[in-house]
């Protein structure tokens, strides 16, 4: 059996049924585009929400009039905590300036104050996996017991809401990805299978003429693979067009989207998936060949 012959047979068949094959290609393209859009959207939303916890910090207000030595000791103690990412010392003068500037137009609130009432502060950033209500509560109890610490402050509400938000987005995102991917793959597979069904008589004729299993299968596999591959490339093309024209345009108006990440080095996945689906669809559609 000559390879080139199988290819010729496959392409003749593709060309003869060009319209319905085109439809199948477009269907697969649409399907894969779906999955890609879903995955990218979820991926990017997740990326954005991952930034939120970075804004979370625990503020340790120190007692007044501590020596530099004492502050260093406290810092060192805290640093030993495995969940602490880094510590920043904010002298009360800086905190005062910041408060003033944050009040801006209403700074006359502070007019009656002669003296800076703010304490020195240690601003602690926690490691990402420690930013959840339980872990933070534990650490703050621990911090309170350190000598020289007067108060611990952190946005309890902020913490619990970012925590549930990011978990929720992860859950819903994963659910979406699973539904969409499974559905899409099924749709692509089903399209190829429906396309190939009723070739039974053709296959039977080949068998009766003495063709071996691979002689029969090969042209069909090539046909399926070609259709799947074309679908994959077309889907990729659609995705790129979508990315460049829609998102870069939206991004120029809404800067939040200009940081939209598109992993170009993963783009081979679309044609590859299409190829695999085309082949599998064809294989299963042809079925087990028995003589």
């Amino acid at each position: 059996m000559s390879m080139s012959y199988s290819f010729r047979l496959a392409f003749q068949s593709i060309i003869r049924d060009k319209w319905v094959n085109l439809l199948a290609v477009l269907t697969i393209a649409a399907g894969l585009l779906f999955t890609a859009v879903t995955v990218l959207t979820v991926f990017n939303v997740n990326l954005i929400t991952r930034e939120i916890p970075k804004k979370f910090s625990v503020n340790v207000y120190l007692k007044e009039n501590l020596q530099k030595q004492e502050i260093d000791n406290i810092t060192a103690t805290i640093k030993k905590e495995p969940s602490v990412e880094n510590i920043k010392f904010i002298p009360k003068e800086d905190a005062w300036k910041e408060l003033k500037s944050s009040l801006k137009n209403t700074e006359y609130i502070l007019e009656g104050l002669n003296e800076n009432p703010l304490p020195d502060t240690l601003e602690i950033k926690l490691k990402k996996d420690s930013i959840n209500p339980d872990a933070v509560k534990k650490i703050s109890t621990m911090l309170k017991q350190i000598k020289g610490v007067s108060e611990i402050e952190y946005g309890e509400k902020f913490l619990s809401s970012i925590y549930s938000l990011s978990l929720g987005i992860k859950t819903i995102g994963l659910t979406l990805i699973i539904i969409m991917s499974a559905g899409t793959l099924f749709v692509c597979y089903s399209t190829v299978k429906i396309l190939f069904y009723r070739k039974n008589r053709e296959i039977e004729t080949y068998k009766f003429l003495g063709a071996t299993k691979w002689f029969i299968r090969f042209p069909f596999l090539i046909e399926g693979a070609t259709i799947g591959l074309c679908g994959g490339f077309l889907g990729l093309l659609g995705l790129l067009i979508l990315y460049y024209f829609v998102l870069l345009k939206v991004g120029s108006t809404f800067p939040i989207f200009s940081s939209f990440v598109f992993p170009l080095n993963m783009s081979y996945l679309l044609p590859a998936t299409g190829f695999v689906l085309g082949v599998i669809g064809a294989v299963i559609a042809i079925g087990r060949i028995r003589y």
């Binding site: 012959y5 068949s13 004729t205 068998k207 009766f208 003495g210 003589y291």
Partner: protein, 220 residues
């Protein structure tokens, strides 16, 4: 070459063949005849294993069919050229490719394919239809393409099922002449037909079937 020993074949609600014993020698040409539905096609199907016998033994080209491994079925079939009663042409390839496929399946060198296909098409007077697709052929033309496909690979055995049902008597006579020539070169031929003209005065053996039963043998 082909031996049936007490072969029976049952379909769900129907006995297609009942205890048929029959044999065709190597290089022989023989006929099967009988009324519509008497089991001619079924007999041929058993030979190329499109159907399996429910009882009895069949031996083809020294292969015991009931013991044939699945992977040997294509080997068996490559030795056989078949003219199907319903032609079984492939609609999505042209006449040339429909005939050539028999050679391609047998791995014949591409250089030989062209001349062999043209020779076969010439034998059935269809050289001018090389590029046509089966759907644009008349009934008789389709049948002749099927005949060309069966003989082009020069198989050891030819099974022809009603090969002249759609052609005129002259063409029909020409086809039988061709089969006889091929047979004279050593090919075993088994031909199912109800057209008595084909075997009348042929001097060949004729197996008669009736409702699946053996109904005598005669010399045509």
């Amino acid at each position: 070459m082909i031996t049936f020993e007490n072969v029976s074949k049952f379909y769900d609600n129907q006995t297609a063949l009942r205890k048929i014993s029959f044999s065709v020698e190597r290089g022989e040409m023989a006929f099967i005849t009988g009324p519509s539905g008497s089991g001619k096609t079924t007999m041929l199907k058993l030979i190329y294993m499109a159907e399996k016998a429910d009882e009895g033994r069949i031996n083809v080209n020294d292969m015991e069919l009931s013991q044939l491994r699945e992977s040997d079925v294509p080997v068996l079939r490559k030795n056989i050229g078949i003219v199907f009663q319903d032609f079984r042409l492939l609609d999505n390839i042209n006449v040339f490719e429909n005939v050539a496929i028999a050679l391609r399946i047998r791995g014949v060198d591409e250089r030989e394919v062209k001349s062999k296909v043209f020779d076969a098409l010439k034998l059935v007077s269809l050289r001018h239809k090389t590029d046509s697709y089966p759907t644009a052929l008349s009934g008789g033309e389709q049948q002749r393409v099927a005949i060309a496909r069966a003989i082009v690979s020069e198989p050891v055995i030819i099974l022809a099922d009603e090969p002249t049902g759609n052609v005129d008597p002259d063409t029909s006579a020409g086809i039988i002449r061709t089969f006889k020539e091929i047979n004279a070169r050593g090919t075993t031929i088994l031909l199912a037909t109800h057209n008595r003209e084909l075997f009348k005065n042929s001097g060949k053996r004729v197996l008669k079937l009736d409702f699946g039963n053996f109904a005598g043998e005669e010399i045509g």
